[in-house]
């Protein structure tokens, strides 16, 4: 399939969806346009609201808050996941003892923690960061643990024969292997950091994109909800693209990475 053709078709889907949306909310095709607009707004309104918001300074402030929370949640969660994952992978007893507890905590739906975090950390950014951390930590933890465990025994023996001591094995063998596993889950963990931030804001805060959406919902401002969602979607796509760039840069040594780069 030709690349430009594919792109054209992809854009066509969006255009058709917007056109459909426009038609059902401005004509009497399905129901009274007034009613339809109350429930679904109109694409023109949503886009003009987005434009308006982006021109004004306020949305950028909310966006900055959300991205700060996402960044902090990712860095803290990933840092903790790497350290604990490494530690558990190198201490079999520790891993065995804590195994049921790790699984139990991970099985807990994180949303129920949001009110508790609000209580503990207040309504500022830290309760959202905490929620994101509980999501990111486990993904990174499991991947780093696996990465250390899955090091090929032959590569390990070879590294030993090349004279590496434990510390050097960590640096040149375990660490790169763990990192490659972690990076393969980078999209998921960055995504979850953002989810944690937005859900946390939605459930109780005074700033951020999640707050903006919640605020609009509170006054039945459907246009505000949809324009908030649209901005959020664009941010997610942009962050995901950034992650892809980082991934390609760092995992060049991986088989299969080459063809992917060639396609891009």
């Amino acid at each position: 399939m030709n690349r430009t053709r594919l792109l054209a078709l992809q854009i066509l889907v969006a255009v058709l969806a917007f056109a459909f949306w426009h038609v059902v909310t401005t004509t009497a095709l399905i129901g009274d346009p007034k009613k339809m607009q109350f429930f679904f707004s109109t694409p023109i309104d949503v886009l003009s609201r987005c434009f308006h918001d982006l021109m004004g300074g306020e949305i950028w402030h909310h966006l900055a808050i959300t991205l700060t929370e996402t960044f902090l949640a990712f860095v803290i969660g990933a840092g903790g996941g790497i350290v604990i994952g490494f530690w558990f992978a190198r201490q079999e007893l520790l891993a065995a003892v804590f195994d049921p507890y790790v699984k139990a905590i991970n099985a807990l739906p994180r949303v129920v923690l949001a009110p508790i975090f609000a209580l503990w950390f207040g309504l500022g950014i830290w309760s959202k960061v905490a929620l994101g951390v509980t999501l990111v930590f486990f993904i990174v933890f499991f991947n780093v643990y696996q990465g250390v465990k899955e090091v090929s025994p032959v590569v390990l023996s070879n590294a030993r024969m090349l004279g590496m001591n434990e510390r050097q094995l960590m640096r040149h063998v375990y660490w790169p292997s763990a990192l490659s596993w972690m990076f393969s889950s980078l999209h998921t963990s960055v995504g979850f950091a953002l989810v944690g931030a937005v859900v946390g804001e939605y459930l109780g805060s005074s700033a951020g994109l999640g707050y903006k959406i919640q605020e609009a919902e509170g006054v039945f401002d459907v246009t505000g909800v949809f324009s908030g969602m649209l901005i959020l979607t664009v941010v997610v796509i942009a962050v995901d693209g950034l992650v892809t760039l980082i991934e390609r840069r760092l995992l060049v040594w991986r088989p299969g990475q080459v063809t992917q780069t060639a396609q891009g």
């Binding site: 070879n158 024969m161 090349l162 590496m164 040149h172 292997s177 490659s180 040594w253």
Partner: protein, 282 residues
């Protein structure tokens, strides 16, 4: 015992013994409990400058014995001595060429070759320079920046060879290093190995299941019986002149005579291992 006589003679005039396996036996503890004795108490000497091949049927314990010499596994009984010193832990004076791919996939060919020197404290710039020189020697000058997955099987083996040689180990251990390669590449790799080895003649222990390869390369071919509890059942001196050309040497009458002689010992064991395998499968 004739062995004792040889050993005394070794001490007097001949080169030093690089590797000595003294009554080494190795048993594995099986997962479900129980023990499997792979190698019965065996004696083997490899002298400085000597190219010794270990041949035997698959699963007889060649890798096991080589790993004991490398210090990667501890013998159940007996002792491993390296230049007269009892070995404990990893054998730091030896380099090891593995049968499987053992390069670090996240390092380029050059970094893989240089890493042994770097971890030993050589400045990175110097290590890379040595690495480049070695890659040139194995014919991979322009492949320095490739990652292992961007190289062919034969090229990866060359990188592994350069990686092993970088640290200038006094003893080389090789476990069916050319096993997975095609016939032509094996011959080229064999010639490359001989030309590199010829430069400074280190003690070399070479495991293979290919008798022709063993004869073409070695000074001595040691035959191992089929397991369990394998023993070393033959030790043949290969008096073919050096330097050798692997493809040509196979046409010489002396090569065929040696091949026939050793094969007579080996074929019984191969048959035994085969029968045992059949029995297990049935």
């Amino acid at each position: 015992m004739p062995e004792t006589v040889i050993r005394l003679a070794d001490r007097a005039a001949m080169p030093r013994v690089a590797v000595h396996l003294g009554e080494v036996s190795i048993a594995y503890t099986l997962k479900g409990g129980g023990r499997y004795e792979a190698v019965a108490p065996s004696n083997l000497w490899v002298s400085e400058g000597e190219f010794v091949s270990l041949v035997g049927p698959t699963g007889c314990g060649k890798s096991t014995l080589l790993n004991a010499a490398a210090g990667l596994i501890k013998p159940s009984s007996g002792s491993v001595e390296i230049f007269g010193q009892p070995l404990s832990g990893i054998n730091a004076q030896s380099g090891y060429l593995f049968q499987q791919d053992a390069l670090m996939p996240w390092k380029t060919a050059l970094d893989n070759v240089a890493i042994g020197l770097e971890v030993a404290g050589t400045r990175r710039r110097d290590a890379l320079e040595t690495g480049r020189a070695l890659l040139k020697q194995v014919g991979l000058k322009s492949f320095a920046d490739r990652y292992p997955h961007q190289l062919s099987g034969g090229q990866r083996k060359r990188v592994a060879l350069a990686q092993m040689l970088a640290r200038k180990p006094k003893i080389l251990l090789m476990d069916e290093p050319f096993g997975p390669l095609d016939a032509q590449t094996r011959i080229i790799m064999g010639d490359l190995l001989l030309s590199l080895w010829q430069q400074d003649r280190k003690a070399l222990m070479f495991v293979t299941h290919d008798l022709e390869e063993a004869i073409a390369l070695s000074d001595r071919v040691v035959v191992m019986s089929s397991g369990p509890s394998s023993q070393l059942i033959g030790d043949f001196r290969i008096d073919l002149p050096r330097p050798r050309n692997i493809a040509d040497i196979r046409t010489e009458p002396r090569f065929h005579a040696l091949h026939r002689e050793i094969w007579n010992t080996l074929k019984l064991e191969v048959q035994k291992a085969y029968d045992l395998g059949e029995g297990k499968d049935a």
